[in-house]
Symmetry: C2
Subunit: 358 residues, 2 copies
DNA sequence: ATTAGCACTCAACTGTTTGGAGTGCTAACA
DNA sequence: TGTTAGCACTCCAAACAGTTGAGTGCTAAT
């Protein structure tokens, strides 16, 4: 059987109506509110065909039809129109721009949730690939050193190192020199145990204490790199706006998933992979397509945003399968560019202090 | 009417039974499963009295009784026994101890949620009252400075300062000296605009650039101080284990509250206040006693923990009114001491790197 | 190919009934 | 005087039956 023009029109009408009402839609409704001027009986025949083709399903006999995953997929791929969306509240967001990346992300994700009435997530960009710009060891006291590492994107990481024996100023100076000459320009991912032992060798291991400090720094950087992805969510309560998600069972599973950030990380990874493969733009996961078990009843729309320096993060919107894909996709698309723009014109965001503004 | 021995026994039996079953408890149950050897009729008379006194209520005529807020209050104040609780999984927690305060707190709150099957929260200690130990400005390039502030408890804060004009090494040295002599030993709360303008005056305002840097640092420290309380929650899904909390309406409100950390902050503030007033130990908020509207159907049990240096945070357990107060209170008490101990023997936790351990 | 018409299905709603758990009251009892 | 047995009463919850209405599939006529 072929999906001809008319069937497509009818399918689209069904999906659009269902997205609006959330109720299974019957043949009569389509017959009345569509320009085709066909009787409900004809529509019924076509619907029967569409069901056979797998685009729609009946929740039970003698109910109207609702779109299947396949139906939604077709809709998303071919029927969603690109609108030049009003960028809603992103401008107001600018005003609140603070100096900390974390805060920005939390605000974005919150704004997006309020805006769309869906649950939202955002991942902080990973900086494993960023290069070291500056390393500094400072002596706090005889037994403690402060280690500060600045990496591309002006991200600052610091750690206090407890020593087992006293250290003198000279060693600190030497270490500073050593670290800066050998590590500057490398990415965090480059810095591993092998490299450190090379440095130690090259330096001739003057003293136990230097070796100890180097080891610790290696540990610290590795820990920083291994750190799980930071993901912020917002609008978890929005799932209760959609009856198909808000029974105890499902709601509980969803809430758990939102708490377990490593499950959400699957979306981030998958999205990044897909975009790497050139499938740039917006990713949509409909029901079963989702990599996360608990989200089989949801649809998730994601996109990455860029920070320059090759850093990228992912934004996602989680809602019922009958979410307003058109709005969500357009919203996300404009947000994606806004964010990318915003970080570009004004990087580095993290820890940046706009000295002019109060 | 007086609450004599027998009434108290019956009341306790009612509450204990209700905590177990979650069902309204009838006179017959008490008559059978209590050592008093009274007929259900007698119990009924007593129950009628207890209801008149306000300790129990009937959800509807011809149902058993359930404890009122007042009943729970009596139970918590006088009938909960102190057990030497097994500290369950706290030891296993030690193993996972990482070097970052944030991670520790997240683990504690998660462990506690898994352990109690309730929703949990923990607040990161505030360090407004901690004194500055060390300040360092480093020149990253002509237009950027890195500012690092170490405060008591070895908490490190850093910011990158963007300048509107170039700065030379000499000014940086001067600023470092100035800042360390004038700010060391002060608490973050002490550092305000007035003080900064004093410093500027005293320093004679050699140059625009120095003034600019000082202003920025003041801004930064103030922002750091004003920052909202950091609160982590876990086990939000646990509310679905208790039918009285899991209808859409209530669940949604609760989830929203858990997301809005500033509402939870009310508990933290209240608990700190109460403990300051000498009411040390465990705080229990039953139903209406809660400072947060959305939690009128819940009970919340909180405690503070100490970090030394006067820093303190708050842990809280959020559950239905019929939560297992005995278990929760004991659990929290032992956790409170464990945490306090843990931080004491091994402070400072934040950013600490155990150089011996891998 | 389209449509009108009709029988059929099924969820959702509306009583209605029934059973059981629990109460309050009263009268009898120790 | 405190306790108890007995009984009528209440009310929820579950089960059941009847009704309604939206929707379908099929068939025969256009």
């Amino acid at each position: 059987m072929e999906l001809d023009e008319r069937k497509l029109t009818i399918l689209e009408a069904i999906i659009r109506t269902y997205l609006e009402t959330g109720e299974p839609v019957g043949s009569r409704t389509i017959s009345k509110y569509t320009a085709l001027n066909l009787s409900s009986a004809t529509i019924r025949n076509e619907m029967s065909d569409l069901e056979e083709m797998g685009y729609i399903v009946q929740p039970h006999t003698s109910a109207g039809r609702i779109p299947s995953d396949k139906g939604y997929r077709l809709y998303v791929d071919h029927l969603v129109k690109e609108k030049t969306q009003q960028v809603t509240a992103l401008n107001s967001l600018m005003i609140y721009k603070t100096n900390r990346m974390e805060e920005i992300l939390k605000q974005v994700v919150r704004m997006l949730a309020a805006n769309t009435q869906y649950t939202t997530m955002i991942s902080a960009p990973s900086y494993k690939r960023n290069k070291v710009k500056f390393i500094q060891l400072s002596k706090l006291n005889e037994r403690q050193l402060l280690n500060v590492v600045v990496i591309e994107g002006n991200i600052v990481k610091n750690h206090i190192i407890d020593l087992t024996e006293n250290i003198d100023e000279e060693s600190v100076l030497k270490l500073n020199l050593l670290l800066n000459t050998r590590l500057n320009g490398l990415t965090l991912a480059d810095i591993n145990l092998g490299l450190i032992s090379n440095i130690k060798e090259e330096a001739g291991i003057h003293s136990e204490i230097i070796s100890e400090v180097l080891d610790t720094i290696a540990d610290v950087i590795r820990a920083e790199t291994d750190e799980d992805m930071e993901i912020y969510t917002s609008g978890a309560n929005n799932i209760f706006k959609y009856p198909e998600l808000s029974d105890s069972e499902k709601a509980s599973r969803l809430i758990t998933t939102l708490e377990e950030k490593d499950l959400l990380a699957d979306f981030v990874k998958d999205t990044e992979q897909k975009e790497e493969k050139g499938d740039t733009g917006i990713q949509v996961y409909i029901g079963e397509e989702s990599p996360v078990e608990a989200m089989k009843d949801c649809s998730v729309v994601t996109a990455t945003y860029e920070l320059g320096d090759g850093m990228q993060g992912t934004i996602g919107i989680i809602g019922p399968k009958r979410m307003d894909y058109e709005k969500v996709m357009n919203n996300l698309k404009s947000l994606k560019t806004s964010l990318t723009e915003m970080f570009k014109e004004d990087k580095p965001p993290e820890n940046k202090v706009d000295s002019g503004k109060k």
